[in-house]
C-alpha cells in the first residue's frame, strides 16, 4: 500500500457534487469539532467555506499558537546546481530553456555557506535541478559535509531518490526532505512533464514515503498551485500529508503551498490561485492537521507573508536567492535562477517584522546529532 492507492480512490470522489451540497451549517459544525476527518477537510476547501475565512482564521490562529507558540522557524534555500534533465513546462531550469548552467564547487559551497551563516540562519534547504548526472548523490553528500560546519539542520530538495539513497544522506547529516508532487492529477502530470525521468509519476509520488522510511526527521510535501484545480490539489496534498503522518508517526510532516511564479519558459498558470484561495488552503490544512508544519516561501510578496504569519504558518524562508551561488557572488550568478522571488527582504528585516508582530524568529530548532559521540553505548 502506498499513497497511490489512496489517490486512486480519492480521485473518483465527485468533488463538484460534494461541494455543491455543502451548507453553512456543515461548516459551522466542522468549526466546533475537535478532530477533523478527510471529508471535513474537503468541505473546508469548498467554495462555500470561502465565506467563513474569518472564523476559520480565528481557529487556525488559536491552534497554531497552542502548538507552536508565538514562534516562526526561519530558513533559507541554497541552490547548488541548476542542471536539469527534465522538461517541466513551468520551470526555468527545464532542459529546453537557454539558461546559464552552473554547479558549485565545494569551495564555492563553502563561500555560500559563510555568506548565509553570517546572517545567523542555522537551517538550510539545499536544492539542485534534477540531474543525477551533474549532481549525483555523492556530490550532494560532499556538499553536506561542507555545510555541516556552518548549519545545524540541513534539508534537501532534490530529484526523488531511493530509500537507500535517502538513508545515505541521512547518515551524513541531512535531516529534512522537501519534495513537491507539483501536480497530483495524474493526467495533468503527464502533460506537464513531457520528457525526462520526472515523467515517472509514481516514483515521485512515493518519494516522501521513502524519505520517511529512511528516517528523515521532517518531510514536506506540496503541490505547485496553479497547475490544476487548486481545491482538488490542496485536498490531495492534505491527504498525502495525513497518510504519511499516520503511517510514520516519528517523522514531522509538513506542507508547503508554493504558487507558480514567473519563469524563463514564460509558462502561465492554468488556474488563478488568488490570495483568498491561498488563505483558504492554509486555514483548511491547519484545521485538518493542527500540529503539522506549514511553510511559506518568498514566492509570496512581503505584505501577504506578514499577514499569513497569524494564519497557521510555522516556517518561512528569509534572505532568499534562487540563483546558483547567489548568496556569495551577487553579480556573476544572475540569470541562473529558478523563478522570480517576491519578498526580497533580508534575514534582519524578516526578524524585525516578526518581532514587531509579537513573534519570535527561531534560527535554530534542531541540531544534527548524527555520528558517534565519545562513550557512545546505546
Amino acid at each position: 500500500m502506498s499513497f497511490y492507492d489512496i489517490y486512486q480512490e480519492a480521485k473518483n470522489i465527485d468533488f463538484e457534487q460534494h461541494w455543491q451540497s455543502v451548507t453553512d451549517n456543515d461548516i459551522l459544525r466542522i468549526l466546533t469539532k475537535e478532530r477533523l476527518d478527510a471529508a471535513d477537510y474537503l468541505t473546508l476547501l469548498s467554495p462555500r467555506a470561502a465565506d467563513f475565512l474569518e472564523p476559520m482564521a480565528q481557529r487556525a490562529h488559536r491552534l497554531t499558537v497552542q502548538h507552536f507558540g508565538h514562534t516562526m522557524l526561519l530558513y533559507t534555500p541554497m541552490y547548488l546546481a541548476n542542471h536539469c534533465a527534465n522538461h517541466c513546462l513551468y520551470c526555468s531550469f527545464s532542459a529546453l530553456n537557454k539558461l546559464k548552467r552552473k554547479k558549485l564547487s565545494l569551495a564555492q559551497v563553502e563561500e555560500e555557506a559563510k555568506a548565509i551563516a553570517a546572517t545567523g540562519l542555522k537551517h538550510i534547504l539545499i536544492l539542485t535541478g534534477e540531474s543525477p548526472a551533474h549532481s549525483p548523490v555523492s556530490y550532494i553528500a560532499d556538499c553536506v559535509g561542507v555545510l555541516k560546519k556552518y548549519f545545524d539542520s540541513i534539508s534537501i530538495e532534490v530529484y526523488p531518490l531511493s530509500t537507500e539513497e535517502y538513508a545515505q544522506l541521512v547518515a551524513v547529516g541531512v535531516d529534512g526532505l522537501t519534495i513537491y508532487q507539483e501536480v497530483y492529477d495524474e493526467e495533468m502530470y503527464k502533460h506537464l512533464h513531457p520528457r525526462g525521468p520526472k515523467r515517472d509519476y509514481r516514483y515521485r509520488l512515493d518519494a516522501p514515503e521513502r524519505g520517511c522510511k529512511a528516517k528523515m526527521r521532517t518531510v514536506n510535501v506540496g503541490a505547485l498551485l496553479g497547475l490544476e484545480d487548486w481545491r482538488k490539489e490542496a485536498f490531495f496534498t492534505g491527504l498525502h500529508a495525513d497518510y504519511l503522518q499516520n503511517k510514520y508517526l516519528d517523522t514531522e510532516i509538513g506542507i508547503s503551498v508554493p504558487r507558480i511564479r514567473p519563469n524563463v519558459g514564460g509558462f502561465s498558470p492554468k488556474v488563478d490561485v488568488t490570495d483568498r484561495h491561498l488563505v483558504q488552503i492554509i486555514l483548511a490544512y491547519r484545521l485538518f492537521m493542527p500540529r503539522a508544519g506549514i511553510a511559506v516561501s518568498t514566492r509570496e510578496r512581503a505584505e501577504l507573508r506578514n499577514h499569513l504569519i497569524k494564519l497557521g504558518v510555522t516556517k518561512m524562508s528569509a534572505g532568499v536567492t534562487t540563483e546558483v551561488g547567489g548568496h556569495s557572488e551577487k553579480d556573476s550568478a544572475e540569470g541562473t535562477g529558478q523563478f522570480e522571488i517576491s519578498d526580497n527582504r533580508g534575514v534582519d528585516e524578516i526578524k524585525q517584522m516578526l518581532l514587531s508582530q509579537g513573534y519570535q524568529p527561531v534560527f535554530k530548532d534542531w541540531q544534527c546529532i548524527d555520528g558517534e559521540m565519545p562513550g557512545e553505548s546505546v
Binding site: 499558537v65 508517526l249 541540531q367
Partner: protein, 257 residues
C-alpha cells in the same frame, strides 16, 4: 506552611514548586521578567533551540543565573537520540540535570515510555540527574525508579492541549506508590488545575504553553506559582474528607446508644 518545605531533587533544594519552559514565548526577553516576578527556580530549555554561536539568539543568555536549568531532549525520537542530546547538553555547560523527552508520535505528541526508560537507565549511570517525562503508568514508573530516575514527570494531558488533569487517577496511583517526587508535566492549562495536582500530593507542576500563550505571561506565571503554593499548603494541611451527603440533623441510629 513550614519554611522548610523544600523539594529535593538530585540533592538540590527547590523552594518554588512551579516549573516552566521557554519554548513558545513571543520573545526570550520575557523570561527574566517572569523569573523576577514569580520567583521561579527551575526552567526547562530544549537543547535543540540552544544556539551557542550567536549571543543574541542563545536562549541560555536569557535565563537568570540563580535559576536551575533543566535542559530537555525535545526532538529525540528514541533513547539513542535522547542520550546524545543529554550528553551534548552537559558538554555545552548546561549542567547535569536532564528532562528526558522522547516523542516518536507526531500526531498526539505522546511520550514513548519504553525508550524513555532505556535512556534513563543509561544517563543515570553516567551521573545525570534524570527527570523522565512519561505517560502515567505504574509499571513504567517503577522501572524508572529502578533505572535511577530522580523524579517522574507524568503528563496531565497531551502536550499543548491545556486540557488539565485528564490522567488524574493514574497520577494519584503514582503519587501513592512511587517514592520519587512526582512532577505533573504537560496538559495543565489553568492555575486551578495545577493547584488540584498539588492538593493530590504532586511534588511540583511544570507548565509552558499555558504561560507562554497567555495574554500576560508574567502575570500568568505568578498565578501558577501562587496556585501551586496554595495546593501544596492544602496537601500539607491534610484535606478534610469529602462527603456524598450532608450530615443528617438528627442521627438516624442515635436510638441505639
Amino acid at each position: 506552611m513550614p519554611n522548610n518545605d523544600k523539594l529535593i531533587i538530585g540533592g538540590q533544594e527547590i523552594g518554588n514548586r512551579f516549573f516552566t519552559g521557554t519554548g513558545k514565548h513571543a520573545s526570550n526577553a520575557i523570561i527574566p521578567q517572569i523569573v523576577e516576578h514569580s520567583g521561579i527556580e527551575v526552567i526547562t530549555v530544549a537543547l535543540r533551540r540552544v544556539d551557542l554561536s550567536s549571543p543574541q539568539e542563545n536562549i541560555l543568555n536569557y535565563i537568570p543565573k540563580q535559576v536551575k536549568l533543566l535542559p530537555n531532549t525535545s526532538g529525540a525520537r528514541n533513547a539513542q537520540e535522547a542520550v546524545r542530546i543529554a550528553r551534548l547538553a552537559r558538554a555545552t555547560g548546561c549542567g547535569n540535570w536532564i528532562k528526558i523527552e522522547v516523542i516518536s508520535d507526531n500526531k498526539y505528541l505522546l511520550p514513548d515510555n519504553y525508550e524513555t526508560v532505556k535512556a534513563t537507565e543509561i544517563l543515570a549511570k553516567e551521573g545525570f540527574v534524570v527527570l523522565p517525562y512519561v505517560s502515567p503508568d505504574l509499571m513504567v514508573a517503577k522501572a524508572l525508579v529502578d533505572a535511577g530516575a530522580a523524579a517522574v514527570m507524568p503528563l496531565g494531558a497531551p502536550i499543548g492541549t491545556n486540557k488539565g488533569l485528564q490522567t488524574k487517577e493514574l497520577i494519584r496511583i503514582l503519587i501513592d506508590e512511587i517514592k520519587l517526587p512526582i512532577i505533573v508535566d504537560a496538559g495543565i492549562g489553568r492555575p486551578s488545575e495545577a493547584a488540584e495536582a498539588m492538593e493530590m500530593g504532586a511534588a511540583a507542576v511544570l507548565a509552558n504553553t499555558a504561560v507562554a500563550t497567555a495574554k500576560d505571561p508574567v502575570l500568568m506565571a505568578r498565578a501558577f506559582c501562587q496556585a501551586v503554593e496554595a495546593g501544596r499548603k492544602a496537601y500539607l494541611a491534610g484535606l478534610g474528607p469529602t462527603r456524598d451527603v450532608a450530615d443528617a440533623s438528627s442521627p438516624l441510629t442515635g436510638f441505639l446508644d
